[in-house]
Symmetry: C2
Subunit: 444 residues, 2 copies
């Protein structure tokens, strides 16, 4: 029976079986010390000359060998104790050793120890499975698991149905640009850029509340630190809303519960390893209309783009710092986006058809989520599609969803990858993606 | 503030706002009765001639219109009560009415009422969003949500990390057959047939325990009731196992907790609507080796295929009935599959290299899951790949995962769609798929 390193403190004086990787090997005279690493931590193993055959076997050990060690847990001798480490007051005196897997030497990139020059990000991506062995990198995916679970927990408590919509589409969704084409038997199919149309179909199907977690595909020839050709999306859609305000309320509550979960489970590690102190924002988040945002931007000295335009990334950062200054809040909903920069299916504001009932959520200058009330009235939807120059025939399957009774509804989509960047304080989406996919990267 | 139909029993004598679909309209003399449907049930609305303008407005209502009704909850008059329905003792006397969305008449397929001839499955798929409005079809996805959550809850309790592995691959995984090809900028990419290689990479990355829920893609030109070109897969992988037995134990516990969750939340509805009584199986599930299974099959009279072969679907059914008869159990693990019918990465049995440390899980004659201990030793893996006629160069990225220390590990993959078929007692995977994708179907 294996003892994970996290349980070693309970086993003082007992015999244990540890399994893991050779993190670091140190030779001191006739003794061999191994730092054994598993997902939960590091324990020091001592091979002493009392057992010569065993010491000889231990002499074969190199970095990243995978081993099983049987031994007895004991207190470390005075002067050898390391109070920095949870397991630093103990060590295991080895009695038996099995090598489960050897590691070719030298390793292409180091896993343990401080490096004078850390490898380039691209090299790290080439050897991603070694890169991910570092505790600080594994942590990213433990935190991701935690926030994802918090997102789902909220949805399930609120009686949402989880859907898995198809990634193959017959006709392009939305704009038609940035679509991957698949050879589908004797014809073409397209990979969904978002579950937008299909989560709206769930509203027409009377599901009322749905969410989806799944991959989305974007054939953007983009090389920025925030873009990937494939990434995980969180999507939510709900019916019988009064306005987009209902969606913003759901989203801000979800954000808070995700950040609370991250802080409660991994706040200490984030502080220790990443020097990040995760503040859980207060509710409600500030809201600012696009019009107010533009005013603020021009009064701030810089030139703001004209009415009808979007915010560029620099403007998003400025809006966030303005809100931070005025309200002490890192989050802000920018509302009432111009129809010109929104998809045809966003509902228009009553009394101002140039504006939509939509919003973006920014966290500290980064756009995290986009949402809106959708247009559920067939005739208006058709008109709005035509206005955008979309041929209604190409949309007919989607438009049919609204022909036989469809409730008012709205929702949001967001990329947890960008949220993870913010949580970890990392600058590149590649770092928080399990296996990044980009224009030039399809492997490992 | 909307009152969902499920809450109406608490609102006796009070004014409520209901929102939903016109399920059925009945005219009795000067009265109009509407059965209003939302996701949670049906409530009868009465429009009386006391309010003529309102009655006139109600006269516009047709099947599947989406409406908001304000009214007062009261007991139904004697003789009008329906004890079959949770809300059958009450009705709402309408005071105000808003039409939120009209439905073109006639509907392409009916939502309410008994049909003399139900539409063909293919017609139902064409109008899937109307088909899904039926309570018995929505129920499928409520149950799916419940079992999926049970699967995840098990994984999270056991400290698994949730991953989202890429669906784009540079080189074909596994066999190379049945792969969808994507036009990926100036080259080709392939869609992952399973997260197999990438969940194994997580073992090489020291994650130790991972699971994934996501789409898998199979370019099978297959038209059976059990196949689709895209479906949801549940995958799990764990390190430092002793043998495939550890994987079977995890899987059978997961199965039990999924079925318990389905029964606890939806047992009554399953019985009432589908005449299904969901039995939660006892632990452990019976195990039978392929060799024993073959013996049993030939002793049973029918001709069993030779050693080294797989079980065909008919044989799977016979094995299940044999186990049911002998042990009274609907589940069975068939173990020790011949290497000839398993992928190269399944570990071989010690002492019999023609057999693998692998298993299939059958439920009542249907294969639900496949699992195995994997070969983690580089040299053997290379040899096994070569034996299968695979060029090692095409596998080099995958093989590299095993070069720098990889623990013994194993896992399983399974299709919740097939499990849902069994739970519901439905014969076709199309019925339990939100939006089915097949050779001839890419829409809606």
């Amino acid at each position: 029976m294996r003892t994970p390193t996290k349980d070693i403190l309970k086993k003082m004086g007992e015999s244990v079986t540890l399994m893991g990787w050779v993190h670091i090997r140190r030779d001191h005279g006739k003794l061999i010390f191994i730092d054994l690493r598993d997902r939960w931590g590091i324990v020091q193993i001592v091979f002493s000359p009392k057992n010569e055959a065993l010491l000889k076997e231990a002499d074969r050990l190199r970095s990243e060998y995978v081993i099983t060690v049987e031994g007895v847990v004991r207190e470390r001798p005075q002067g050898m104790q390391n109070p920095e480490l949870a397991t630093g007051m103990f060590e295991v005196e080895a009695q038996r050793l099995w090598i489960l897997s050897e590691a070719e030497q030298p390793l292409p990139i180091a896993v343990a120890g401080a490096e004078t020059e850390p490898p380039a990000l691209d090299t790290r991506m080439d050897w991603r499975w070694l890169d991910l062995r570092k505790q600080e990198h594994t942590l990213i995916f433990q935190i991701w698991t935690t926030i994802e679970n918090a997102f789902r927990r909220y949805c399930l408590q609120e009686d949402f149905i989880e859907i898995h919509s198809p990634k193959f589409m017959e006709v392009p969704s939305e704009s038609g640009a940035e679509l991957f084409e698949v050879n589908y038997f004797d014809r073409k199919a397209y990979l969904a850029q978002s579950p937008q149309f299909y989560k709206q179909m769930a509203m027409a199907a009377g599901f009322e509340r749905v969410f989806e977690i799944g991959p989305v595909f974007r054939a953007e020839p983009s090389f920025t630190s925030r873009h990937a050709t494939e990434f995980t999306g969180y999507d939510l859609e709900m019916s019988f809303i009064e306005s987009e305000e209902d969606i913003m309320q759901a989203l801000e509550e979800i954000m808070v519960s995700m950040l609370e979960a991250a802080r409660d489970h991994y706040g200490k590690e984030l502080e220790k390893i990443y020097q990040r102190i995760l503040a859980v924002p207060s509710l409600p988040f500030p809201r600012i209309s696009m019009e107010e945002a533009k005013k603020m931007l021009s009064s701030g000295g810089g030139a703001a783009s004209e009415r009808g335009g979007d915010l560029n990334p620099e403007e998003e950062r400025r809006v966030s710092s303005f809100i931070k200054e005025r309200y002490g809040h890192e989050f802000v909903f920018v509302t009432r986006y111009p129809a010109a920069v929104r998809p045809f299916y966003h509902m228009r504001q009553e009394g101002d058809s140039e504006l939509t009932k939509s919003f973006d959520l920014l966290w500290d200058g980064i756009e995290l989520a986009t949402g809106a009330q959708r247009e559920h009235r067939y005739d208006r939807l058709l008109m709005q599609a035509k206005e955008k120059g979309i041929h209604p025939e190409s949309l007919q399957t989607y438009l049919n969803f609204f022909k036989y009774g469809c409730p008012p509804h709205g929702g949001f989509g967001f990329g947890p990858g960008r949220m993870m960047m913010k949580i970890m304080g990392l600058e590149n989406i590649r770092e928080v993606t399990y296996l990044y996919r980009g224009v030039k990267r399809l492997s490992p």
